[in-house]
């Protein structure tokens, strides 16, 4: 548990993201972004891109390689595909967060849960729409961070999404080390426990540097 001392009343931006929807926005170098799991157990699929050259983007594999640790936690620096530090997680009231299990999609849902789920909304649908706002396409969507999603990887390799650890009001906070575009999908999945089988709203707050 690493708490933040930033005061919500001093935030320069505050966005409520309704259940199942996408959001994107700029976070400038030095600013802090907080993502609040308002109701608990809500996966927030998140990607970051260099705002000045979106071919540089968050790389889950570069980040885990550098940390030699399988999850994102307080103190983790998010590394880009060019090997540059993008953001550092400065506060986290949950413990650890997945970045290996990716975002749900209409297509993977059919494989995972059966073809009867094929008309349900999914994170990659949100990502494609938000990416398009910044001139990006499906090919720009890479492995994301799943804040508040609990996917332990066992020593024998077994992995599964299990009940989330986050409680109402839990949050993560990151400070930007470069100007970044943040893409969020407030995960609409109802076929696994990542949202407690009931997607709920989240909140994003942004602060200028002190």
């Amino acid at each position: 548990m690493t708490r933040s001392s930033l005061d919500p009343a001093a935030a320069v931006a505050r966005h409520e993201i309704a259940a199942t929807l996408g959001w994107s926005g700029l976070v400038k170098k030095g600013q802090s972004i907080r993502i609040v799991d308002s109701c608990g157990q809500q996966a927030v699929d998140t990607l970051f891109y260099n705002a000045h050259d979106t071919s540089e983007r968050y790389s889950a594999q570069d980040t885990l390689q550098a940390a030699r640790y399988a999850y994102i936690r307080a103190g983790t620096t998010l590394i880009s595909n060019d090997g540059n530090p993008m953001l550092t997680m400065t506060a986290d009231t949950v413990g650890y967060h997945d970045t290996s299990a990716g975002a749900c999609s209409v297509e993977s849902n059919t494989v995972r849960f059966g073809h009867e789920t094929r008309h349900l909304h999914a994170c990659r649908e949100n990502f494609v729409v938000e990416a398009a706002r910044w001139g990006m396409q499906k090919r720009d969507i890479v492995s994301n961070i799943n804040f508040f999603m609990n996917v332990p990887i066992e020593p024998d390799g077994r992995l599964a999404i299990v009940d989330g650890l986050s409680e109402p009001g839990n949050y993560v906070e990151l400070v930007a080390l470069m100007d970044v575009i943040c893409l969020i999908s407030n995960c609409p999945q109802i076929n696994n426990p990542c949202n407690g089988f009931d997607p709920t709203p989240i909140e994003v707050l942004i602060w200028d540097p002190a």
């Binding site: 309704a18 885990l64 640790y69 999609s105 849960f113 890479v142 992995l159 426990p193």
Partner: protein, 259 residues
Amino acid sequence: MTTFSPEIIAAAKARYGELKAAGQTEGAFEARRDAAPRLGAIPADAARFTDEIPADWYWHGHVAAGEILSIDNPAATPGASLILWSAVDPSERLNPADTIKVQWTAAIGRGRVLLSDMGRAMASVVDGPDAAMDFVAGGSTAFSAGPGRFNARDHFIKAAAKHGLGKRDVGPVMSLFAPVVTDAEGNLVWGDAPLAGRVDLLAEMDLIAAVANCPHPLAPSAEARPITITLWRPASAPDFCRTATPEAERAFINNEAGR
């Protein structure tokens, strides 16, 4: 905004429990895998292409549906990384996250499938070890390999460029001969599986493939040794991966629908 009734939520919760139990209970998958015949030596007249890839170098090329991409590692080089694109629509590519999530395990090996971001099987792992592939930590980079040394990421950017693709098409990758495991504390560590051997990937759609013969960044030794790439067509295509799990069967429904 969508809202779901308690009945729908309860049904989804029960179904997830059943899928997870089926996906993670040892037995059915292992039995089907272990009953399947091994490929054995590649017949001399079956190969249309073979090349020895020197240490730290790379290979790229087309693999037609029904061909096997064999990667042989006789000298136990510690890791070689792989990326796959659909040759028909390269915006469809290997998705390491879906590959491990959908199959309920990061221990991917013989009997499993490599999944695209579009819910299709790009390739079946028709022979090779039962695990010792890494989908979590990826391949080497300029940072991990150090200055002046070739690395997997840059090789993949070059391979992409030679097929009309670019840096934006080089996302997460997988590594062969790379027994990366997550220990009980969450640390990524190098396991003790044997590295030498051959991995055989049956193309389940027309592919553009690239292999970087660069040591894995977590390997205890950074010394690479040559590997051999062979493209060949077996007398009869091994198809046991298609029915090895319910997830694979559903992926192949998507393969059929997408043809």
